[in-house]
């Protein structure tokens, strides 16, 4: 099947270097310390951050740094076919772990010893790239909660189909079975904190695809920065400054 037309357009009319539409909103869960909704195309996730607060389970307390915890859950209606599976299956445990490790890398945990930060991400609509969307949402929520971070982590994926590197795959492109590279970066420090790939790619092409994903991350970072600035301006305005 042709995924890239001779004119260089994808099936949904995007160009190979074009991202799906991004949308973000801060402060959707009133009771949480920080929260955000992040949409990438048809993928929509909510993240809520509680903390830093007292450690719930004393045995997990660390005297030199904060404990970061993460739980990823999918709504019953988030996928095309309705599913009802118990919480904590292997896929969600793995994604929880990935998000936790990525976020832990950017939070200044040593500033908040003997405390705990909870990150909860809830998928409302699952298309492709829930991992990236969750990380972006969690970043925004952490920033909204005012938790000290080295930088804002952003994530994006890229793939390789019909000998063209594609940015931010959608459902049809992902199910075609090509390689899928998910990257998370700290844009200001220019460091990679997350790198995952399935399937195989020749080394030189991999570099290309990864470079494309990093470009995507930077675009997401710009967008997130805009949203945060806008939010701060609103807060400033409300305080009458």
């Amino acid at each position: 099947m042709e995924y890239v037309s001779p004119e260089g357009l994808l099936l949904d009319g995007r160009r190979p270097m074009e991202m799906r539409q991004l949308r973000a909103e801060i402060g959707t869960v009133a009771k949480a310390d920080g929260s955000a909704v992040f949409e990438m195309g048809n993928t929509k996730v909510i993240a809520a951050v509680y903390g830093p607060r007292e450690v719930q389970n004393r045995s997990q307390q660390m005297s030199d740094q904060a404990l970061v915890r993460c739980e990823y859950s999918m709504a019953n209606f988030s996928t095309g076919d309705r599913m009802r599976k118990p919480k904590g299956d292997r896929r969600s445990t793995e994604i929880s772990l990935v998000i936790r490790q990525t976020m832990e890398a950017c939070i200044l945990t040593h500033l908040m010893p003997r405390s705990q930060i909870d990150i909860f991400v809830q998928v409302l609509q699952a298309d492709v790239g829930t991992r990236s969307a969750c990380i972006n949402a969690a970043s925004l929520a952490l920033a909204d909660a005012g938790i000290p971070m080295r930088d804002i982590v952003t994530s994006c994926s890229a793939g390789y189909l019909n000998s063209t590197p594609l940015l931010d795959l959608n459902y049809v492109e992902d199910s075609a079975g090509g390689a899928d590279v998910t990257v998370g970066i700290l844009p200001k420090l220019d460091k990679v904190t997350l790198l995952q790939m399935d399937a195989k790619l020749p080394l030189d092409i991999f570099e290309n695809v990864m470079g494309l994903a990093i470009e995507g991350c930077k675009a997401v970072a710009n967008y997130i920065r805009e949203i945060l600035l806008e939010n701060t301006k609103q807060l400033e305005y409300r305080r009458g400054l």
Partner: protein, 287 residues
């Protein structure tokens, strides 16, 4: 769990006794309701309802199935509720399961009527395609995103809105089949059937704090309750279900009084909700 000091508790209780609650409402006033429909494109119908800081999503999905042998002339409807950990850290892991089950059972009792289907908001007989062979199974999923008390009323309102938003594809049965054979069906992509949602009740929860009862309690107020009664009432003013929460015993005459108060409140709530749903549907179609 809500941690409140003795002073805060006293303030809440005193406010309720004087008919002026901490957010400025009277005892029988609801917070403003905000309805948005069509929020989950993958579902057949969906709605998001916000009641103050309480935020819930309901979605309706229909699947073709076989009616149960005991009731061949009826489709099946199931309601599930899930409490997302985003709403409160205590819902993490299996922590929300108890509350989820309690809410699911209460909603089933209040919205689906008796065993024979009398008093149900949606007539299960309308879901049958071929009697005894093919019917629609309706799965209603509720998700609590943010919780600030009065989840049951918000979920019931969201389900009502989601069902008004629901379109079930029209089904053509190919040919007459004999015996036990499953008939072939053709699901239309263009024609959709809408439900008549005027009969779906609303749930009014009356929370008893001290000697008085209030509607639409926030989680701070709920922590001070001695008991709460959730009553589902339809347009005709008939009671379609009732559940009581909280341990303290109530005098039977108080319960009857609560029912009559709830009836009065439900009329306003139904009107408000219907106009909100209509407005949401209109803006959904525009966009």
């Amino acid at each position: 769990m809500v941690g409140l000091s003795a002073g805060e508790k006293h303030f809440i209780q005193g406010g309720i006794a004087q008919d002026l609650r901490s957010d400025g409402r009277k005892r029988l006033t609801y917070r403003s309701i905000y309805v948005e429909t069509g929020v989950i494109p993958q579902a057949h119908g969906s709605a998001r309802v916000r009641l103050g800081a309480t935020d819930v999503i309901a979605s309706v999905k229909a699947e073709l199935g076989r009616p149960s042998g005991l009731q061949p002339d009826k489709g099946k409807i199931a309601i599930f509720v899930d409490c997302s950990p985003t709403a409160a850290p205590m819902f993490e892991g299996r922590g929300g399961e108890e509350l989820s089950t309690e809410l699911s059972v209460a909603l089933q009792r209040c919205l689906l009527g008796g065993k024979s289907g009398a008093g149900a908001g949606i007539d299960p007989a309308s879901l049958v395609v071929v009697e005894g062979k093919v019917c629609w199974d309706l799965y209603i999923d509720g998700l609590v995103i943010s919780s600030d008390g009065n989840l049951l009323d918000a979920l019931a309102a969201a389900i009502k809105a989601a069902l008004s938003n629901t379109g079930i594809p029209k089904v053509d049965v190919a040919a007459e089949t004999t015996g036990d054979e499953q008939p072939e069906v053709n699901i239309s992509d263009e024609e959709f059937l809408q439900f008549d949602t005027s009969g779906i009740p609303v749930i009014v929860t009356l929370t008893k704090v001290g000697r008085h009862y209030i509607v639409d309690a926030t989680s701070e107020e709920e922590s001070q309750m001695s008991s709460a009664v959730s009553i589902s009432i339809n347009r005709k003013g008939h009671i379609c279900g009732l559940t009581k929460r909280g341990g303290a015993g109530l005098d039977p005459s108080i319960i009857l009084d609560m029912i009559s108060v709830a009836k009065h409140v439900s009329e306003q709530l139904l009107n408000k909700l219907d106009s909100e749903i209509a407005a949401a549907e209109a803006s959904d179609e525009e966009s």
